[in-house]
Symmetry: C2
Subunit: 200 residues, 2 copies
């Protein structure tokens, strides 16, 4: 349809997740329209991450070293592993200052409909890490979504079979701070009630 270079760009863009052919075409026209340096800045940014950034060989967090800063930090509790879906999920957990263990990045969540099976995630690697008797607890901090819950259940079962004495936890589900009961969906409120705690 278009000239070969334009077709090639549309094809490459449509390989990105959630980008169909029409969106890819729109993005390609945008890239064609912006000033030369802006288009090349994107190309250069892609090239740079592919050349410099890789995954931590322990936890699969993003890093420009073989092992990421968190895994290399001697002060972190090596007996505690927090499992998250994506590298970006580490940031909010770190921000809480409530967690001083290590992480394990799965690279997504189980979703058979989208073709994401256990072998597509870093689950086998997690199970091997958790075989270390120094590991006391694994926190399954996958998202509170259908796929995140399914992933947590799957990993929880696998861990229980391999090391029945291991503590496996999941962050509490409940009302977000600042929420209004009147506008809270019943699933969240139900979880909040199931997880109710004695105060005072």
């Amino acid at each position: 349809m278009f000239s070969p270079p334009v077709e090639r760009l549309i094809t490459e863009l449509s390989k990105l997740p959630g980008i169909g052919r029409r969106t890819a075409q729109r993005l390609a026209f945008h890239i064609l329209r912006v000033p030369e340096d802006e288009g090349l800045a994107l190309a250069e940014a892609i090239r740079e991450v592919k050349e410099k950034i890789g995954f931590c060989e322990v936890c699969f967090n993003l890093t420009d070293q073989p092992v990421c800063k968190i895994c290399a930090d001697e002060r972190r509790d090596k007996g505690l592993i927090c499992v998250v879906e994506e590298p970006g999920d580490i940031i909010p957990v770190e921000r809480t200052h409530e967690f001083d263990g290590l992480y394990h990045v799965l690279g997504g969540a189980l979703s058979p409909i989208d073709g994401v099976e256990p072998e597509d995630l870093k689950i086998a690697e997690l199970l091997r890490r958790a075989d270390d008797p120094a590991v006391r607890e694994v926190v399954l901090a996958t998202n509170p979504t259908t796929t995140g819950e399914a992933t947590a259940l799957y990993i929880g079962d696998a861990l229980a079979k391999r090391r029945p004495e291991l503590t496996v936890t999941r962050p509490a589900s409940g009302l977000p701070v600042g929420a209004d009961l009147e506008y809270t969906d019943e699933v969240t409120l139900g979880r909040a009630l199931q997880g109710r705690r004695v105060i005072g």
Copy 2:
């Protein structure tokens, strides 16, 4: 948050239209995850279009020459200009084999909410082209959407002021071939009735 190369990629990706910070982050993680050659293929495709492909200096269609193939084609009717929003809109018009004139690509549609003003589109260039007395008709084939209609109205007014004798048309709105009246929205059906034609 992330290391500088990853931040840079997220920033560049979020400059693309319709891509917010969260989507940019998701795309960046995808690019980080795919094999090296797939990531670099995208970078290379962007670089290639920025280096090889530009806009026709007459009609602003995509081309690897100063003037595109259609504008350079001596057999095309130079008295007839079809105005479209994007280069991709030329393809379906060409496929009809009902049009043998030239094109003019605006580069979008007027949309004050999104900050798209007349000077952001190739409207001044169209008005200058239409000043040529050899031009008999301008077909405003912008999309049958709110922004496309507004753009057609705006250009129609501007053309009427400059060359009152020029014929300015718009493709008919009506029922798509193969449509079912029962499932046709009332705006389309209304347009189809307004534009009804004597048959036989």
